[in-house]
């Protein structure tokens, strides 16, 4: 399994061998790119790994920070949330009344209340949140081109890949978009090899399975094995071809694909249906809820980075579907929608996931991140709802290496701008890499061979346990 990964491991011992494999004319397995990335870590020592995996719960559409975790109890009425605050397991800390279960688990979360950037549109802000870097322009239909930065998980796959048989980076169940596909969900210039193992299927569906691991109905494992024997016979025919770097690369991928198809462990990792009914109910029988449960199964089986997208679209007008983009358009009302859809789902998943991870002894090794692409306007708009607000919003981090109950940074009395300790998306990114034991100054190279640091900022070590 993961033959190529073991090649990369071997490289640590014998770099020359790796170069030979990665030499001219090879399939572009991008090992040289990886190698450069490793080299460029340079003399600075990698930080201590406080987390082994990350579960990134991306809240597409932009949740209102001032109606959830950064409630401004003393703000004027036209700013103040229509929801009541409730106290939490952290003395003096409040969350909104529609998050009662979450309130009981707040001693696990560190909050950063001053995340900010300058992108006002979903796609450009989404890209910023998913990569930590702002795009060149604030473009509502930012094009997903190879000069933009890769997803966090793809970077992890390039600079610190898994050493076990599981993939490094898995994402599901949506490709998020707002008019056009949001950049930042894939490997971009790092190469398709570092794309996530993406599952487009609904983990809440009765027939959920990993499509990549399913064989056509008329092909059994036995028939596949017959086919494989015929294939291997052909591969032995041409003198020397099997020794070429290109053929070795292909052979390695076939070994891996076939062994994944045969592997009970891999198949099992994706099998949410084997979870007890009560636990499945506890997470909520929603696509997102079962996605959170699947995330736990995946990190348990060794996946390093799991991204779960809350919704496919920015939503905001429906009580039964979609993301957090609650402007109040078309006579919809944010205050009516959130308690029906977004907040119950959140209150079913966040505390349940943390509890589940804790019960299984996984929480100390798993970093859970919860945030969207921006917060929402501190002042309530004419639709009694809120619009986009990237100038200051809240990110939640919990688990691996994070100081539970910590609050870093403070917004002003409206929740409008950072009052103290502002944190950029680059800082947030650096924090995540640092917790994973990856030097945040590690460089990757784009298609023009320009060196780029994986994070443009510094880790917020104040929230480290």
């Amino acid at each position: 399994m993961f033959r190529l990964r073991s090649l990369a491991e071997a490289a640590a011992v014998n770099r020359r061998d790796l170069l030979r494999i990665g030499g001219p004319g090879m399939l572009g397995l991008t090992l040289p790119k990886l190698l450069r990335a490793q080299e460029s870590q340079g003399t600075a020592a990698a930080p201590e790994a406080r987390a082994k995996s990350v579960i990134f719960l991306f809240q597409w559409g932009g949740p209102s920070h001032v109606d959830t975790f950064d409630m401004k109890l003393t703000a004027p009425q036209e700013y103040r949330s229509k929801y009541s605050p409730i106290s939490t397991s952290v003395p003096g800390m409040h969350v909104c009344e529609h998050l009662p279960e979450t309130a009981k688990m707040m001693h696990h979360f560190a909050q950063i209340r001053t995340v900010h950037h300058t992108m006002n549109n979903h796609n450009s802000a989404g890209y910023t949140a998913l990569t930590g870097v702002e795009p060149p322009i604030d473009d509502q239909r930012l094009r997903d081109s190879l000069d933009l930065l890769p997803a966090f998980g793809s970077v992890v796959d390039a600079v610190a890949p898994n050493r076990n048989e599981m993939p490094t980076f898995v994402s599901y169940p949506h490709t998020i978009a707002d008019g056009s596909t949001t950049p930042g969900q894939r490997a971009s210039f790092l190469g398709k090899i570092h794309d996530p193992l993406f599952i487009p299927n609904d983990p809440n569906a009765a027939d959920f399975e990993l499509s990549q691991l399913s064989l056509p109905s008329d092909v059994s494992l036995g028939r596949l094995s017959d086919r494989r024997e015929l294939q291997k016979l052909i591969n032995r025919q041409v003198r020397g071809l099997d020794e070429s770097a290109a053929a070795k690369g292909l052979n390695a991928y076939y070994e891996k694909a076939i062994s994944m198809l045969n592997s009970r462990k891999v198949r099992n990792a994706f099998d949410v249906s084997s979870e007890p009914t009560e636990l499945r109910e506890a997470y909520g029988r929603t696509t997102y809820g079962q996605g959170c449960l699947l995330a736990r199964r995946l990190v348990e089986s060794g996946v390093k980075f799991v991204t779960v997208y809350f919704s496919r679209n920015i939503g905001g007008r429906s009580k039964t579907d979609g993301g957090w983009d609650t402007h109040g358009f078309d006579d919809t009302r944010m205050y009516e929608i959130l308690p029906e859809w977004h907040l119950p789902i959140t209150d079913h998943t966040l505390p349940v996931l943390l509890k589940d991870l804790e019960d299984r002894g996984l929480l100390q090794d798993t970093l859970v991140m919860w945030f969207g692409e921006f917060g929402r306007t501190p002042k309530i708009n004419k639709n009694i709802s809120r619009d986009h607000w990237p100038k200051c919003y809240t990110a939640l981090l919990a688990g691996g290496g994070v100081k539970g109950g910590a609050v870093y940074g403070a917004s002003d009395k409206y929740g409008a701008v950072p009052d103290r300790d502002p944190v950029t998306t680059g800082d947030l990114t650096a924090t995540m890499y640092s917790l994973l034991g990856i030097d945040h100054t590690t460089e990757i190279r784009d298609n023009l061979s320009r060196p780029l640091p994986i994070a443009n900022g510094r880790p917020v070590t104040e929230i480290f346990a």
Binding site: G28, R141, P216, Q231, L241, N447
Partner: protein, 752 residues
């Protein structure tokens, strides 16, 4: 504000002791900030991108990247941090000395000891009161590193490099000790005093960098091969002479010439993107014509499929993509590109027509080039990359770290493209929020004013060509006496002039890279002094061949294809590593997305559906990125396959946008995916027809091998396949297995 103290008297008392004479010294003067202190900061790695040269600095100290801005660094060092970095009264207490010498903790480790020359230079400079060079100080005007090229034979594994600087006052100095040496190959290390040592045989380029000058040095390390005898196939033309001469120097034998069937398959894929059919393959195998390879080259160069395949490559580079060009634009632009190759338009004329194009994007096809590139900087970057092999992007935000381009060069070049305007006749775009989407006719126009300014200086640098020695438009052949030409028309004249060696070299190198899988300069669009050609003689000869044959791409291809080098085998008896860019043997590479899918379609003889195209259109014939006319409908089976296998989105003018790397997802698609299995089990495919045609198992297997691999099956393969078929209750199922094995074999998936 802290003012640097000056101790002119003290400066005279400094005793200059130069170890090995490796530092320039102006007698009696303190170290020069520009020429020595800055060099120490570079040599010690302080201003690297990973250290203080980072955009955010490190540990509170930010220096300019690789020392490109000495004036800013002077202020940073002398004025910031309340002057703690430099303390002239007690020089040794300066952070500038204590940190790198690790007398106090330094995250970057110890860069040099206190007894080093680097330490002495910094200390003496601080001690002298931090003198800043005045305008009369000599400035660096040239750097020479010797040897520029050396072949080192074992048992020798080292070579000493010597760097000499030339200054504006006419003086020269040995600056070896202050020059940074970086090797492109990791098996070569260069010591601080310039000794390059190789751990294994091979070739490398070492770049010597002192202040703002960089010089490449090409080194070849040859292992001891007692009794080595040099053999080559008979050289056919200048290509083989250049390649074999280098291999002889490297004491490495090229592979033998490949067999006929390998050649047949290779050239069909390279020129048409398609497999030879079983009939073509059998006929070529049977032919006894002595020059049958040459004849086949001519035949394929004249084929319609060749035009398709060339059009595909250039449609990638010129961003033929529907969202911005719309369906009509894609059609007319693609058709123009294809007919340009069909009529064998000289490549310089092709470039000139693109550069000078204006008018309706529906009526003047090449005007779509500018329709796709909406901003002056985008146009400038694209034209530099596609036609001149220069990646100027770095110079947008700072001077290019690996080349001589400055920000003024970047904005001066962009100025050529500043006056393009669009008259949007109509825009019936579907998504009103999408500024990239245009549906409707546009007219590309030239305004008569508009300039680009360098945001750092606020000035317009004036028009500049991005080719060294020609940074002045006065050299421009279009300028003299042809005043009615506007700047883009003048640019087109300059670009396509036979004397524009850079254009010719870029195109010749692209053609070579297309056929050989690797440019003589690689990447093919990244020409710079620090990335020299792997074989300079070949590089020059290819360029000259293109120029002397009037930029005829077919001619250049014909010369390359007839060379022994192109026709070498992919296997070799040589045991060592083949140095990169030596072309001693052919390196197998994966078929592209379109080649793979069309080959599958050919073997099974089934058409594949692409969105918006008639059934029967091949992947290699698609005009746009996908879904001609149906960008909003879900992608068809063929579109999905191409995306998965790396067909580019055409949002960049870079060949690098096409990715030919293999991924796990692709392997799953080939092994068990929906697309391959749909084609395999389709009732109307070739398997069914052969079954119904009354052929026996061995005959069908033979046909399949000729279709997929252009050869007959070996005895083992026939036996194994027939046995497998005999064991099946359903013959068809058995044949599907045989085809699956063929489509998934390395021999099928690789071009060798």
């Amino acid at each position: 504000m802290f003012e640097p103290l000056r101790y002119p008297a003290l400066a005279l008392t400094i005793t200059v002791v130069v170890a090995g004479g490796c530092v320039p010294v102006w007698a009696g003067a303190p170290p020069s900030f520009h020429n020595e202190v800055m060099a120490v900061l570079s040599k010690s790695g302080c201003n690297q991108g990973t250290c203080h040269g980072n955009a955010h600095g490190k540990g509170g100290l930010k220096l300019s990247l690789r020392g490109q801005d000495p004036d800013a660094d002077y202020i940073t060092i002398t004025r910031q941090s309340a002057g703690r970095r430099v303390t002239p009264l007690i020089p040794a207490a300066s952070l500038l000395l204590q940190k790198p010498a690790m007398e106090i903790p330094h995250e970057g480790g110890r860069r040099f000891p206190t007894e080093s020359e680097e330490y002495r230079i910094l200390r003496d400079w601080v001690d002298a009161g931090l003198p800043k060079d005045d305008d009369s100080a000599p400035s660096l005007i040239g750097l020479t590193v010797t040897p520029a090229h050396r072949t080192v034979h074992a048992p020798d594994v080292s070579v000493s490099l010597n760097a000499m600087a030339a200054y504006s006052d006419g003086s020269t100095a040995d600056v070896t000790g202050l020059t940074v040496f970086d090797s492109s190959a990791t098996f070569v290390t260069v010591t601080a005093d310039g000794v390059a040592t190789a751990e294994q045989s091979g070739t490398t380029t070492v770049v010597g960098r002192y202040l703002n000058q960089q010089v490449p040095i090409r080194l070849e390390f040859v292992s001891a091969r007692p009794g080595f005898e040099f053999h080559t196939p008979p050289p056919v033309n200048f290509i083989d002479e250049a390649i074999f001469a280098q291999l002889k120097r490297l004491m490495m034998n090229p592979a033998t010439v490949c067999d006929d069937m390998t050649f047949l398959r290779r050239i069909h894929l390279d020129l048409t993107g398609l497999l030879p059919t079983a009939e073509q393959a059998r006929a070529f195998a049977a032919s006894e014509q002595p020059d049958k390879r040459k004849a086949l080259i001519d035949e394929l160069l004249a084929s319609e499929e060749f035009n398709d395949f060339q059009a595909l490559r250039w449609a990638d580079l010129l961003r033929v993509e529907q969202k911005t060009l719309d369906k009509t634009g894609v059609d007319v632009f693609y058709n123009w590109i294809r007919s340009s190759f069909a009529e064998n338009k000289p490549i310089n004329q092709f470039a000139a027509e693109l550069l000078a194009a204006r008018g309706s994007t529906y009526k003047v096809p090449p005007a779509n080039f500018y329709r796709a590139l909406r901003k002056p900087e985008e146009r400038a970057e694209a034209v530099a990359q596609v036609f001149l092999g220069i990646r100027l992007q770095c110079a947008k935000c700072h001077n290019h770290p690996f080349d001589h381009w400055t920000q003024d060069d970047y904005y001066g070049w962009s100025g050529f493209f500043a006056r393009i305007e669009y008259e949007i006749v109509e825009n019936k775009r579907r998504d009103k929020n999408d500024k990239h989407e245009f549906t409707g006719e546009q007219i590309v126009k030239m305004a008569n004013k508009g300039e680009i300014t360098n945001p750092k200086t606020g000035q317009s640098p004036g028009l500049r060509f991005p080719v060294s020695g020609e940074n002045n438009v006065a050299n421009d052949p279009g300028a003299a006496g042809v005043e009615q030409l506007d700047r883009l028309q003048r640019l087109a004249v300059w670009m396509s002039d036979a004397g524009n060696e850079r254009f010719a070299a870029t195109q010749a190198n692209r053609v070579w890279g297309q056929l050989m899988g690797r440019g003589v300069v690689e990447p093919v669009d990244d020409f710079r002094s620090t990335n020299p050609p792997s074989n300079p003689e070949l590089f020059d000869a290819l360029r000259d061949e293109l120029v002397t044959h009037d930029f005829d791409v077919r001619h250049l291809m014909r010369v390359i294809l007839n060379s022994a080098t192109y026709q070498l085998s992919s296997s070799s008896d040589e045991t060592g590593d083949q140095p990169e860019g030596s072309f001693a043997q052919v390196m197998p590479r994966r078929l592209t997305a379109e080649q793979t899918l069309d080959a599958i379609g050919q073997v099974l003889d089934v058409p594949i559906q692409f969105g918006g195209h008639e059934l029967g259109t091949r992947a290699g014939q698609l005009k746009g990125v996908r879904n001609g006319g149906h960008r909003y409908s879900p992608p068809e089976i063929g579109d999905r396959f191409l995306t998965l296998f790396g067909k580019p989105d055409r949002l960049q003018t870079c060949e690098c946008e096409r990715t030919n790397e293999t991924t796990l997802a692709q392997t799953f698609e080939m092994v068990s995916g929906e697309i391959v299995s749909t084609l395999l089990t389709q009732s109307q495919n070739r398997i069914e027809r052969w079954l119904n045609g009354g052929l026996n198992d061995a005959e069908i297997v033979d046909n399949l091998y000729w279709s997929a691999l252009s050869r007959s099956p070996s005895a083992d393969e026939t036996a194994a396949s027939v046995l497998h078929l005999e064991r099946q209750e359903d013959r068809r199922r058995g044949l599907e297995d045989v085809v699956w094995a063929l489509l998934n074999s390395n021999e099928f998936l690789l071009r060798r």
